[in-house]
């Protein structure tokens, strides 16, 4: 490398084009080599597979991706399937509640932790522990707790409260809330730790100034501190949001979509059609719809959040 650079230097005046080209490839060569795996991953996995997915969602592929082009047939079928429609509504409801409650409870817990309490690090560890478990374990544990015969309901009835009822997991109208409990149990601790870090980043003198101004503590949290935590909030929303969209393993472990189809979610629909239903075209159509939904939300938001360079 070194001698090419020396050779090209005197020739630069006569033939600048080849040397500029060389410069493009040779400048910071090691950095470019190091970036190749990631560039390849992005091109092949993210972009390549996305295009592949979209293409085959327009075919009638069954067990293997070999079918012929059928236009929007798979999509027509998709939206005529009640299982898909239920899945979408479930995800929207679960997502909205999960996002609001995780952020809300996470912030509330962080505020409580911020009150100079004793054993703070012990509490923090306890709160964060569920996050260390996989969704499968979380789902299994809560399945046992909420099982009407084995879990909480059975225990309470054995203790004498024979009217005690906690059967959300077996109740089609309440099963989403059962999912929500398990999801919150797992996710709130992490959100709290993020928020707590954000709270700790606020200058002590801001608090003093607010006290001198006579602003109540709760008002200071909402009107002054929360807006200052914008970066932390964005991080938390992105993490919680991506967790919601790919919600799958918790459902499999906790309810397996039941009772009936009342707790089905899109990711499970895609998986079932692609790997056990033997209908790749249908699964890919569902996957494409998920991607489209995420893009519709993400693109304008990302543009607003990160697009304008002059701000901040």
């Amino acid at each position: 490398m070194a001698d090419t650079a020396v050779q090209s230097a005197p020739a630069a005046g006569s033939s600048s084009r080849p040397s500029a080209l060389k410069k493009f490839f040779l400048h910071n060569l090691s950095a470019k080599v190091a970036a190749i795996p990631m560039v390849a991953t992005v091109l092949v996995v993210f972009i390549g597979c996305t295009i592949w997915t979209i293409y085959y969602s327009f075919t009638n592929s069954k067990l293997l991706p070999t079918g012929k082009f059928v236009g929007f047939d798979q999509y027509e079928r998709l939206f005529a399937t009640s299982r898909w429609n239920v899945s979408v509504i479930n995800l929207l409801m679960y997502g909205a509640m999960s996002l609001v409650l995780t952020l809300g409870l996470g912030f509330l817990l962080a505020v409580l932790m911020d009150q100079k309490i004793r054993f703070e690090s012990a509490f923090r560890t306890i709160m964060l522990y569920p996050f260390a478990l996989s969704f499968i374990v979380t789902g299994l544990v809560w399945q046992w707790i909420m099982n009407p015969t084995l879990g909480l309901q059975g225990t309470m009835r054995n203790l004498g409260w024979t009217n005690f009822t906690f059967d959300w997991i077996a109740n089609p109208r309440m099963v989403l809330f059962a999912l929500l409990i398990a999801g919150l149990w797992q996710g709130v601790g992490f959100c709290m730790v993020l928020m707590l870090a954000g709270l700790r980043g606020v200058d002590e003198e801001i608090w003093k100034a607010a006290r001198v101004d006579g602003i109540p503590t709760w008002r200071t949290y909402i009107s002054v501190v929360l807006p200052m935590m914008r970066g932390v909030l964005v991080t938390a929303v992105v993490l919680i949001g991506s967790g919601i969209v790919r919600l799958y393993d918790l459902v499999v472990a906790l309810t397996n979509g039941g009772p009936g189809i009342s707790s089905e979610v899109p990711a499970k629909y895609v998986y079932n059609y692609m790997f056990s239903g033997g209908n790749i075209g249908q699964g890919l159509a569902a996957a494409t719809m998920m991607l489209l939904t995420v893009m519709i939300i993400m693109v304008p938001w990302a543009y607003l959040e990160f697009g304008g360079k002059g701000r901040k």
Binding site: D203, E205, I206, K208, A209, A210, R211, V212, D213, G214, I215, P216, R219, S223, V224, P227, M228, R230, K312
Partner: protein, 360 residues
Amino acid sequence: MQPSVSIKDLSLNFGNVKVLERLNLDIAQGEFIVLLGPSGCGKSTLLNCIAGLLDVSDGQIFINGKNVTWEEPKDRGIGMVFQSYALYPQMTVERNLSFGLRVSGMAKDEIARRVARAAEILQIQPLLGRKPANLSGGQRQRVAIGRALVRDVDVFLFDEPLSNLDAKLRSDLRVEIKRLHARLKNTMIYVTHDQIEALTLADRIAIMKNGVIQQLADPHTIYNKPVNLYVAGFIGSPSMNFINGSLDGATFTADDGTKIPVGAYDFAAQRGAATKAVLGVRPEHILLGDAAQGMPFQTQAEIEIVEPMGSETLAWTKVAGIPVTFRCSSDIPLHAGDKVTVGFDIARGSLFDAQSESRL
């Protein structure tokens, strides 16, 4: 007239550490008091106690005759300005000024009137729509002062407000604070570790060390008649020259035997027997050449280092075996190695007891 702020036997402990101990301070209406001291001397702690941001362990605080020892900060009639400005970053300047008033439920037109007045006094009308991130340090501090101003209070507290600014801005804003005080005539309590700020701004300076006020006096007295060795060494740059020795009658004998007549010195009290003492002379009270002739004590000295400062020159030499700095006009040509006659202006010097370190 009742004092604006009155502190009676104030003590503050953090666990076993006594930060402030039985501290008394009376501040007159409209007075500009500077609390001066090195970091850790308790000056900011005292200010926070006055503001009500720290609970005191013992003692009382009165503001305008009202006992506010256990009042919330907002009910004490104070406004406070912080070192880090502590502006609310997501609000515009206008919101920053008005937020506290809005929360307290004040009428809209009254808020607007007060914000307009503060903006006019501080010359920040063009900045009202901006956010703190788009302001310079000096502008931010002006907004922070404005936030104290709109509260329409009697007492202003400043906690090292200029420490985050660069030297040029600091001297500009210093003058502005002085102008503000001249216009508003409020009581102001100002904490700083910068002696220039203290000397230029204060009506009275309280020099603190280890939670105790060492001397409370006007800048002239503090500078010329420091009550003890600590104050004498803390105030003045370069600091006062100290010569250790002993005092017998009107003669001071340095440790190396040099005799210095101190008959011209204005002793605070009659003294008894000979004592160990420290003679302090400010660099500008050591005179050179012809001016030295009239002085009670003169000696030959060799210049070691010369520091030309533009308007004046600092020179380092040795007198009685001790390194001594003196200040002279930059018109006098001085070079290292020169032999000169220096004279001490004893009448303007200071003598301290070596044991008690207090002024004789």
